[in-house]
């Protein structure tokens, strides 16, 4: 069995992240990848699929349900599920840090599992970067809106042109060593109080 023959089950309630992991695994040549978004009926899926590797989001409270599942399968002499390889602490620490928890079914070599786990970790990190960038883009948009409103207020109240209003905001920000958006916010707040 080569590395790419492994059967991998990805359990992630976040559909976007699951898609990113799925794509990454397929790019790496894994074709037996199953993605599920909810844990309802997961026992049956694990049983029929018999995955070699299960990747689950660490924030998913149903991890405890997986523990129960493994405990049950153990009692009927199915392979024991392991949390990666116990000796490979660094790679597990990285996984736990990234928020991914991987269950590797016993009997798999670490060398085969490690690239999958590394991939999942990097995809988890890529996803959180994506989230962060999205949040930053959103706040940048918010800031622009606030600055526009502050400019409008200054233009109306002090009879300035758009350029003059912007220059005044920027100069004030520089003088007070504050962010342009913060000064704009003060203008908007002050206007709200005064008008």
């Amino acid at each position: 069995m080569s590395n790419t023959d492994l059967t991998i089950l990805v359990i992630d309630e976040n559909a976007v992240r699951a898609a990113i992991i799925d794509e990454g695994l397929r790019e790496a040549g894994h074709t037996h990848v199953t993605v599920v978004h909810e844990v309802n009926g997961i026992a049956r899926i694990v049983e029929t699929l018999a995955p070699d590797v299960i990747i689950i989001d660490i924030e998913n409270p149903n991890r405890d349900m997986m523990e129960h599942l493994f405990q049950l399968t153990r009692t009927v002499a199915r392979p024991i599920a392991m949390f990666v390889d116990r000796s490979d602490t660094t790679s597990i620490e990285a996984a736990v840090d990234a928020g991914v928890s991987a269950y590797i079914v016993d009997g798999l070599k670490k060398e085969r599992v490690k690239p999958i786990l590394d991939m999942a970790v990097s995809r988890f990190n890529a996803f959180s970067r994506l989230q962060r960038e999205l949040a930053e883009a959103r706040s940048a948009l918010e800031e622009r809106k606030i600055i526009e409103r502050a400019k409008g207020i200054l233009m109306k109240m002090r009879g300035l042109s758009e350029e003059e209003a912007f220059a005044l905001l920027r100069q004030t920000a520089m003088n007070e060593k504050k962010k342009l958006a913060d000064i704009a916010q003060s203008v908007v707040t002050a206007a709200g109080l005064l008008l």
Partner: protein, 424 residues
């Protein structure tokens, strides 16, 4: 103080005190009322007085708590008492040595069934609103027999974790009523905060979980409480503080300070005059995030059995400190071991006995608080013999003869010789 894991998953660097012992401790916890002692120690100055800072980190699953303690993301953790025992026995995924020098108290668990199931028990057997836990279990056994005759699916019951007091207490209660938990019902794991919703949605027909989730379900009118942990065995160990033995060895002074702080916090939690304050803290979104009035009533042991107004007063529903509730008595670890054997999680061996007992560390407790703080009836005692502390089926646990004790139960996995598969 509480912090959620930030985006990068990194936590603040551990603070080192004089002699390079750690003074800032990251403590993982699950939002349950039995995290009270940790919350009080962090919020009310008990940790500070010992020169420690407790950084409480809320988590979502026991498996996470276990792994994050093992991988040093937590220094100490709120744990189910069977978790250190399972770790020392090498059970479960990724078992890493874990010990407990301090129990976080007793009580808080209860068993709730759906109203539909309870009403069926009433109409079939005629049990009253004030039926005992044992009568309720027997009534459920009658309903299960009836369901089998009618070809109905057995009910699905929720608990919290394979190595949990809830798993063993639920099984104890079912078996005492003559129900085989592996054959007559389907046991599944449901995260505690989801139990009430799962019951309302019909995904499960009952559950055994810690406070306040039983009361949340009963007051919502979706469930009926049929047994409290006191009914099953009042002394049953509940949550503990889990630590890594290597960490405890290199931070022995810190561990002593921690135990002194937790001891003071536990006394404070046990004082009824402090319950309003405690309830306010626990209700906060950083901790349990539920109604303060429910928490207040749970602390007082004012049990709402259902939404119809049936009440029950359980004075010792929560015991945070008194009755040596914080003492990690090895015979209790052995009782947990006996239940693991009973339900087929592990076999009996002398070595297993020693490993299980080594998970509970009264020596560390005594080192911090002195011998006077220890109970006078020993580390290993015969359990279930004193008035007010009996098992619901009147069995007596002799830690010296675990094998015979397990064999004496009429219901257990040893009667499953022909069993080949589990339907889960």
């Amino acid at each position: 103080m509480t912090s959620r894991r930030n985006d990068s998953g990194g936590l603040a660097a551990p603070g080192l005190g004089p002699g390079k012992q750690q003074r800032v401790l990251r403590a993982g916890f699950i939002p349950l009322m039995d995290a009270s002692v940790l919350v009080a120690a962090a919020e009310c100055g008990f940790a500070e007085r010992e020169g420690l800072t407790l950084d409480l980190v809320r988590d979502v699953s026991w498996a996470n708590v276990r792994d994050r303690l093992a991988f040093r993301q937590f220094d100490i953790a709120h744990m189910l008492s069977p978790m250190p025992v399972a770790s020392m026995l090498g059970l479960g995924s990724n078992p890493s040595p874990t010990i407990t020098p301090f129990s976080l108290g007793r009580g808080g668990n209860a068993i709730t069934l759906s109203l539909r199931l309870f009403e069926r028990m009433q109409s079939l057997t005629g049990i009253g609103e004030d039926a005992s836990a044992l009568d309720n279990a027997r009534a459920l056994a009658s309903v299960l027999a009836d369901m089998r005759i009618r070809g109905e699916q057995p009910p699905t019951l929720g608990m919290t974790y394979p190595f949990s007091s809830h798993n063993y207490e639920f099984r104890y209660w079912l078996a005492a009523g003559g129900i085989d938990p592996d054959r007559d019902v389907k046991l599944v794991v449901v995260p505690p905060p989801l139990t009430s919703d799962a019951l309302a949605a019909g995904a499960i027909d009952g559950f055994c979980v810690g406070a306040p989730w039983n009361m949340v379900a009963s007051e919502r009118g979706v469930g009926r409480i049929v047994a409290a942990k006191q009914d099953i065995w009042p002394s049953a160990p509940e949550k503990v503080v889990g630590i890594r033995p290597d960490w405890a060895a290199t931070n022995s002074d810190t561990v002593s300070r921690l135990i002194v702080a937790l001891d003071a916090a536990a006394r404070w939690c046990d004082t009824p005059e402090n319950h309003d304050h405690l309830a306010e803290m626990l209700a906060d979104t950083r901790y349990i995030a539920t109604e303060v009035s429910i928490i207040r009533r749970v602390l007082a042991g004012e049990f709402s059995l259902d939404a119809k107004g049936n009440q029950r007063l359980l004075l010792d529903y929560f015991v945070f400190h008194r009755q040596n509730a914080n003492y990690p008595r090895p015979s209790q670890a052995l009782w947990i071991y006996s239940q693991m054997i009973r339900w087929g999680q592990v076999g009996f061996s002398e070595k297993g006995s020693q490993q299980a007992a080594s998970a509970f560390r009264p020596d560390i407790y005594r080192q911090a608080l002195g011998d006077a703080a220890a109970p006078d009836d020993g580390d290993i005692r015969i359990e279930g013999t004193t008035e007010g502390d009996r098992f619901m089926d009147a069995m007596v646990f002799d830690p010296a003869d675990i094998d015979a004790y397990v064999g004496a139960f009429p219901v257990g996995s040893r009667h499953h010789q022909t069993s080949t598969s589990h339907d889960f």
